[in-house]
């Protein structure tokens, strides 16, 4: 077959390929011309062997050239068809992206867990280690070791849930639900030597009617720092830093006189109201007086130090304690403390 004929064949093939409407037509054209068994070019290739030696090189070159042209056309057409398809897709139907997605389940930590962590994290920045201790306590740790012997009028401040052990009670060692995290002051000091810097979050119990701001089962955080030179000004600094990190760096802090049998001097800390900053007499967060009472605190009483074997002439320090729920409510605007423990998922899923 002369080269002219081959060129004709290639021309036909290229034209057919260029006109292929879709991938199927393109594949048909490829098989027709380049197919291994019956493709026209393959036929032509087989013929090379039968040609006289003198014609072989020219014919072979023509076959190759035709093959190349057809392959190039196939490539081009393939790309063109793909591009057309993509263009069609891009220009085609628009998904309604406002339709809901395939939902992924979202789990959250309980707001009290979140707040406990936040408290630990903030105090950790000031070198306080988080430790934990028993919720069911001996009267000794909860009261006596904290200068609150039986009959002490301050016990009225910590109305107590008394606990009975089914395996037997010892009248000389009453069991109770700890009314505050302060017994851990004693336990920590019994186990460690100064310097001490710990924060203790945990559950506490009171014999108390519940209302929107009070629960009989609740969480507190306790702080304790003992060293040789810690003062009330350091206490103020630590709590000030805490307030800033929890409620923002514009916060102010206020100390007022208070009384705890296990601290002397004692104080109550209030933060200025982050919501109204003292400007709204009807403020729902602070009740209008511009201050939010947050915790009790003071310098650890020398008798308490002595009781755990610390020499009060050498060591001194401070302790503080506040409510976790109160922080959580202040941080989130949660309206009622009881909602935390009703575990209505419609509520918890908001935190």
């Amino acid at each position: 077959m002369p080269g002219e004929e081959l060129r004709e064949l290639a021309n036909r093939a290229v034209a057919e390929i260029a006109g292929a409407a879709d991938d199927a037509a393109l594949e048909a054209a490829r098989v027709k011309y380049l197919g291994r068994k019956e493709g026209a070019l393959s036929e032509a290739t087989k013929r090379i062997a039968k040609l006289p030696p003198g014609e072989k090189p020219a014919y072979g070159a023509a076959v190759n050239e035709g093959k190349l042209r057809i392959e190039r056309a196939l490539e081009e057409r393939t790309r063109a068809l793909r591009e057309a398809r993509v263009a069609r897709d891009l220009g085609g139907e628009r998904e309604d992206m406002s339709l809901p997605p395939r939902r992924v389940r979202v789990g959250r930590l309980h707001p009290i867990s979140q707040t406990v962590r936040e408290v630990s994290r903030v105090f950790a920045t000031m070198g306080f280690e988080t430790v934990e201790g028993p919720e069911i306590e001996w009267d000794y740790y909860n009261f006596e070791a904290l200068n609150i012997p039986p009959g002490h009028p301050a016990r009225e401040k910590w109305q107590t849930l008394w606990i009975s052990n089914p395996l037997g009670d010892d009248p000389s060692r009453p069991l109770l639900g700890r009314t505050h995290t302060s017994p851990m002051q004693i336990r920590v000091m019994e186990q460690r030597r100064p310097p001490v810097r710990v924060v203790i979050p945990g559950r506490c119990y009171r014999y108390e009617a519940t209302d929107a701001i009070r629960e009989s089962i609740f969480f507190q955080y306790e702080g304790l720092a003992i060293d040789e030179k810690l003062t009330m000004a350091d206490l103020k600094g630590v709590l000030f830093s805490f307030a800033r990190q929890i409620f923002g760096s514009d916060r102010k802090i206020r100390f007022r006189i208070d009384y705890f049998p296990f601290t002397e001097p004692s104080a109550e800390i209030a933060f200025d109201c982050f919501s109204c900053e003292g400007r709204d007499p009807e403020c729902r967060v602070c009740g209008g007086d511009g201050w939010i009472e947050a915790a009790g605190c003071g310098m650890v009483h020398p008798d308490v130090l002595r009781r755990v074997g610390y020499d009060p002439k050498r060591y001194q320090g401070f302790a503080f304690g506040g409510g976790i729920e109160r922080l959580a409510m202040l941080r989130t605007g949660a309206p009622d403390i009881r909602l935390f423990y009703q575990n209505d998922l419609r509520y918890l899923e908001q935190f």
Partner: protein, 806 residues
């Protein structure tokens, strides 16, 4: 303890040069918590009225028509049901439109004139309750005759009251004089103490006083008063009692109460006729001794109860509750007036034993449970005697004061430098001395040393730190600088269980489960609802001896009940729940605190999908199943590097066919499965409720930190096998044998399919399993793979009688 201090009463002892709001703030900051400042709220329409005429209501027997003059030209006629009025009485009158308290609801309301039995009432004469001055709603509050008719009540009776929450270390503040002492110190002004005549001791044939227990009763004074005429106390005393929240009774009782409110020291008056042997003695109760107390209760006294007795019998529980028999009556003429000092802890314990502690206690008992100074005793007695002479006709016929062991004077010696040592701020000696003297301390400098003696009433002052607090609070805590502490930091410890627990918490929340936190005290009845037959899955719980509610009376020994309760309540408003809780269980131990064992509880119930109720357009509805629960448990184990293993045991309360439990050392550390449907029914939960409980410290013990290796560099070969075994053979065995035969070239095993059917015959099942095979050092050749598969197949045939089809 909340006390109410009328500002006008306070002004009697101290000049208040600042606005009351400022005073309140300064007291709050430096002295005692101010709960509120109560101001008179009566408006212009509440006036002083005078009853000028009383007439029967023509249409009602129980009503009267009262004509009231109130300063306007025309008097008003009102209809009243009160029976205590007489013509000429001065009364509070509310014109129509006035703000008053509704006598029934206790709420503030606007008075609207309305016809009563056909006659229009043009206003109202008011009871104490309607004035907001107490609970008395039986009769009209008759006022002092000297009050000017027509005056605004606010102007003549209006009283600003400080509501103060006292702390028990400050018994000196229990009286208005004590508050005045604080005000004087804060405002740096003088204090005028009330006039007291010294009462010389005078023995009497008709009264003697004895102390048998000088520890429980360190001081006991009494006066014998004759010629008493019982009657109403003067209006000014009544008004002050009312303003302070007490109800006037008669002159003798009112005066003892008045002195208590003024000085803080309670007194008790006995009708002398009832005193057998003319004796008052402070002694322990005798075994089995009984007493009918003022509240009408016949009480058997515990034998460590301190009583005040006469020669024969107990007259009252000392400091806590008087007896009925010896109380003052209308015809009492001779009074034995007791003024004593009691050991406060004993009072506290006895009051608690009688159920009369805290706010349930009498005003006297609450005060005596604080450490009142014995030095108040003669002062209060003299003050009361003076008032009784003036207002009850009393003549003194005997005075005695037993004080066998005088309380020592407290002298605090300290360094001035103790103040900056504790406070972290310099307060100079001069200022320190000034503050202490303002507080009526005797204070002096001796070089670097400060010597301070508190006034006798300040029983709270004993050590240097107490003085530091006094100086700090009066100087003002706002002077303390804010300082972040420096100094050496302690070495911190690791807390593996805490860390592990928090990883678990994050993991489960990350899986999409919502954390819940429920009450750790539960209803013990719940524990009987966790198995079909009511038997217990947990040890007998610790009980609350004095629960606030039975629903919170047992320390939970399992999380299961709390989770079921939470699920039940949530399934009322949603189709599915997926929750977890991490909390300690309280497991009783003999002679020790309970073992507080941290536990993870997981609960799935209702629909797993769609995630959002009703949103089925992409995901059809599907309930949770036991495989979901397994998935979460294993994923958690994976995340925490725990190999869950142990002895397989039963899981009480769960479906025996769809649950598993592992124990180690006899403790179930993992229980997971479907709730027994009979238990689910008790909780109104769907039969498909799934629950898992994990003992956290057991898992921590089982956790192994992973030995990490680099990711594989050579490709894996995959081989699928169909393994036909007896129906009874668990998949666990198949996997175990494959692992045993696979050696190090076996990567992972995946279950592709589980088939039962005619092709393999009855009683058989076929696991289609995909093996991922690879070697760390080279690409596995065809022959290696074939050899390994052959080995696995051989092992399965041998160990499990399996047939392998490929």
């Amino acid at each position: 303890m909340l006390i109410k201090v009328p500002v006008s009463w306070l002004r009697e002892y101290v000049d208040i040069s600042v606005p009351i709001d400022e005073l309140a703030l300064r007291l709050h900051m430096s002295s005692t918590e101010v709960k509120g400042v109560e101001r008179p709220w009566w408006d212009d329409k509440v006036r002083v009225g005078r009853i000028s005429k009383l007439a029967k209501h023509p249409n009602a027997d129980k009503l009267q028509l009262a004509t009231v003059e109130y300063g306007e030209d025309r008097p008003k006629t009102i209809v009243t049901g009160a029976t205590n009025l007489t013509v000429g009485d001065i009364v509070p009158f509310a014109d129509e439109g006035a703000q008053i308290i509704d006598g029934h609801t206790g709420e503030r309301t606007t008075l609207r004139g309305k016809p009563m039995r056909g006659i229009q009432s043009e206003g109202m004469v008011l009871s104490a309750k309607e004035l907001g001055q107490g609970e008395d709603h039986d009769g009209i509050q008759v006022l002092d005759r000297k009050l000017p008719v027509g005056a605004r009540l606010r102007d003549v009776l209006g009283e600003t009251i400080l509501a103060l929450e006292l702390q028990p270390n400050r018994p000196d503040c229990l009286g208005v004089v004590g508050i005045a002492r604080e005000v004087a110190a804060i405002l740096a002004t003088g204090l005028r103490e009330p006039p007291v005549d010294r009462l010389p001791e005078r023995t009497s044939r008709d009264l003697d006083v004895r102390i048998e227990d000088p520890v429980a009763c360190p001081r006991f004074a009494a006066a014998l008063l004759t010629g008493i005429r019982i009657g109403a106390s003067p209006t000014w005393i009544q008004q002050r009692l009312i303003a302070a929240g007490m109800r006037p009774i008669d002159n003798v009782v009112d005066i003892t109460n008045y002195v208590m409110l003024e000085l803080g020291q309670p007194l008790h008056a006995y009708d002398h006729r009832k005193l057998r042997g003319g004796l008052l003695v402070a002694r322990r109760a005798r075994r089995g001794e009984t007493l009918r107390t003022l509240d009408g209760v016949e009480r058997v006294l515990h034998d460590d109860t301190l009583v005040i007795a006469d020669a024969d019998r107990a007259l009252g529980v000392a400091g806590i509750l008087g007896g009925e028999d010896s109380e003052i009556r209308e015809d009492t003429t001779t009074v034995a007036l007791e003024c004593a000092s009691f050991e406060p802890r004993g009072i506290g314990r006895t009051a608690a034993n009688l159920g009369l502690h805290g706010s349930a206690g009498s005003a006297a008992a609450r005060r005596f449970s604080w450490e009142l100074s014995p030095d108040l005793v003669p002062v209060a007695l003299a003050r009361a005697v003076r008032l009784l002479r003036e207002h009850a006709g009393a003549e003194v016929s005997g005075v005695m004061d037993r004080y066998p062991k005088r309380r020592g004077v407290v002298n605090v010696r300290m360094r001035f430098s103790d103040i900056p040592r504790v406070l972290g701020i310099e307060i100079g000696p001069e200022e320190t001395l000034d503050i202490l003297r303002r507080l009526q301390f005797v204070a002096a400098a001796d070089g670097d040393t400060l010597v301070a003696t508190p006034p006798a009433v300040r029983t709270d002052i004993a050590i240097a730190e107490d003085i530091v607090e006094e100086v700090g609070r009066i100087a003002g805590y706002d002077r303390l600088p804010v300082r972040v502490p420096d100094g050496p930091l302690p070495l911190h410890e690791r807390h593996p269980l805490q860390e592990f627990r928090e990883r678990a918490r994050d993991g489960l929340a990350g899986f999409g489960l919502q954390e819940v936190l429920s009450y750790s005290l539960i209803d013990p009845a719940w524990l009987g609802m966790l198995t079909a037959d009511g038997s217990c899955i947990a040890p007998e719980p610790l009980r609350v001896i004095n629960p606030t509610t039975v629903a919170q009376s047992a320390a939970r020994p399992t999380l299961r009940a709390s989770l079921l309760d939470t699920a039940r309540r949530n399934l009322r408003n949603r189709a599915g729940v997926a929750i977890f809780e991490i909390a300690p269980l309280y497991l009783p131990q003999r002679g020790d605190l309970p073992d507080e064992r941290w536990t993870i509880g997981i609960l799935l119930a209702g629909n797993a999908e769609p995630v959002r109720d009703g949103e089925t357009w992409l995901t059809p509805e599907r309930p949770w199943d036991v495989r979901d629960l397994q998935g979460y448990v294993l994923a958690l184990a994976d995340l925490l590097d725990v190999q869950t293993a142990g002895d397989q045991v039963d899981a009480p309360g769960l479906h025996p066919g769809r649950s598993l439990a592992f124990a180690h050392d006899g403790r179930r550390h993992l229980v997971a499965g479907q709730l027994d449907p009979r238990v689910a029914a008790k909780w109104e939960l769907p039969a498909e409720t799934f629950i898992a409980e994990i003992d956290l410290s057991s898992w921590l013990d089982a956790a192994r930190p992973p030995r990490v290796i680099a990711p594989p560099r050579f490709p894996a070969a995959l081989r699928d096998l169909a393994i036909v075994v007896d129906e009874a053979t668990p998949y666990r065995d198949v996997e175990r044998e494959i692992r045993a035969a696979g050696g190090t070239d076996l990567g992972s095993i995946a279950l592709v399919d589980l088939y039962r059917g005619p092709q393999i015959g009855a009683g058989k099942k076929s696991f289609a399993v995909r093996l991922v095979l690879r070697r760390a050092t080279a690409t596995l050749g065809e022959e290696d793979v074939d050899r390994l598969v052959k080995r696995v197949a051989g092992r399965l045939q041998q160990a499990l009688g399996a047939t392998i089809r490929s």
